[in-house]
């Protein structure tokens, strides 16, 4: 079986528009959360959201290539540009090799709603314009990036709710490990507009701490009152070690393990058993001992039951081990379809730079989080392996383990 390494990363999120900006935000513990006042005009319970501006891609892509790009597709394009650049993969390489793409995405609400608004008003479907269909489909990110970058390998979208980005990396890892693909673009993208989260707001899932946006996302804190929706995009270039070596690429890390499970239980209420099995599978797959994993990037979104059950699952699997555990969602909010990929990028940046970002707003633990080793200040710490959890609606769970590459 092939070893699977990471040779490029790209990130566009509410805490930075590229790796360097994000690294600085992580180190400082900067929050990317703010308010979108328009949501209140439409009756939303919460106006809290990750704040990020849309990238200016007009100078980067011609009209035909921009027409089909949805909001999250634009984020994904910019993140993928950064990742390809770091990996040293150019257009000529992509034309001569079969590079694939698996990206996590599970909605594209804004273009759908715009189109329906036009059809209702004008009674003329042509007036939605040519780009609407390509922006509206769940596969909008992979179909557009495949064409823009002229990719010739496997291309489809992974829709696994808030584990989409993580599963995309896990599936890419499987394909490269088995030899079916040599190089894959893997990632996750999430639109950040009020249309995409209206029904989620309706479930009373979002924090109402609007008077203190930076304190609203407080995973594992006893007084958490819900998540803060957010988004952007994150890309990783995965390839076989043989491919990276042949190209002379700089190897940033190695995908060591992937685990998954489903709860087979409730649409929105998570349990302990599913995440526990996902964790155990990933650790088994990695061949690492639990004590080799010195940092865990938790899924913890700042909901009462989700954080509690994840903490219980972690405690069960950790036994006596006490790795640092944080949720970067305390800074970014919940990046949903993107989160599984972005949190690997965040954790990679920490591992490369020898620190663990502070877990914001952890002021009072609950009975389970009190037993976890959660740093509230930046920790200067070299570590060789981390684990990243992602769980989604429907009880889909994904766990990735990434380690430093050693020959």
């Amino acid at each position: 079986m092939n070893r699977v390494v990471i040779t490029g990363m790209g990130i566009y999120s509410c805490i930075g528009k590229n790796q360097e900006e994000v690294r600085q935000s992580l180190y400082r513990g900067a929050s990317g959360i703010g308010l979108d006042p328009a949501r209140k005009e439409y009756g939303y319970r919460s106006a809290l959201t990750g704040i990020l501006e849309r990238p200016d891609i007009k100078g980067l892509l011609d009209r035909k290539k921009r027409m089909g790009l949805s909001e999250q597709g634009q984020y994904a394009y910019v993140a993928t540009l950064e990742a390809f650049r770091e990996a040293g993969i150019d257009e000529a390489y992509l034309q001569e090799n079969e590079v694939g793409i698996l990206y996590g995405n599970d909605s594209s609400a804004e273009p759908v709603i715009h189109a329906v608004d036009i059809i209702r008003e004008k009674r003329n479907t042509a007036l939605v314009g040519s780009g609407s269909i390509f922006q509206s489909m769940n596969s909008t990110v992979t179909m557009n990036l495949s064409v823009i970058f002229k990719l010739r390998g496997l291309s489809f979208t992974v829709s696994g709710a808030c584990a989409s980005g993580s599963h995309a990396i896990g599936m890419g890892y499987f394909l490269i490990r088995s030899g079916m693909q040599e190089c894959m673009v893997c990632g996750g993208a999430q639109e950040v507009n009020m249309y995409s989260v209206g029904s989620f707001d309706g479930l009373s899932a979002f924090s109402l701490r609007e008077d203190e946006p930076a304190k609203a996302s407080r995973p594992f804190d006893k007084n958490r009152d819900g998540l803060v929706p957010s988004g952007g995009a994150a890309t990783l270039i995965l390839e076989s070690y043989a491919s990276a070596k042949r190209r002379g690429a700089r190897i940033l890390g190695e995908v060591a393990g992937y685990g998954f499970s489903s709860n087979g239980d409730h649409l929105s209420v998570p349990n302990v058993d599913g995440p526990r099995r996902s964790l155990e599978m990933a650790i088994r797959d990695s061949g690492l001992g639990i004590k080799d994993i010195r940092y865990i990037n938790a899924h913890a979104t700042s909901t009462q039951i989700g954080d509690l059950n994840e903490a219980k699952a972690l405690l069960h699997v950790l036994g006596g081990a006490r790795p640092y555990v944080t949720s970067t969602k305390s800074m970014t909010g919940h990046e949903m379809w993107m989160a599984g990929a972005s949190e690997v990028v965040y954790s990679m940046l920490m591992m490369q730079n020898g620190f663990i970002a502070p877990h914001l707003n952890f002021e009072e633990p609950d009975e389970a989080s009190a037993l976890l080793h959660i740093p509230v200040q930046t920790v200067e710490k070299e570590f060789d392996a981390f684990l990243s959890n992602s769980f989604g609606f429907g009880g889909t769970n994904s766990t990735l383990i990434i380690k430093k590459f050693h020959h």
């Binding site: 011609d62 009209r63 035909k64 027409m67 004008k122 003329n124 042509a126 007036l127 040519s130 780009g131």
Partner: protein, 83 residues
Amino acid sequence: MANTELIEKINRKLSEEFETDIELIRPDAPLMQTLELDSLDLVDMVVLVEQHFGLTLKAQDFASIKTFQDFYDFIDSHVNDAN
């Protein structure tokens, strides 16, 4: 015959929408090739004509148009019909 004001407006809107140098838009120049239009772009032409000229057309309505002059005349006649 389309008047100068209408022609200038058409040229400006086509140049903006299809990101084409306005200097390339001349009465006898071929419309599809100059604007690099494909079948998808004709749908956006329908949107452009509706938004800026108030005309409700179908992509097929553009089938007989070869040059920009044809396009000016086409829009002019429909604008006049609409009036």
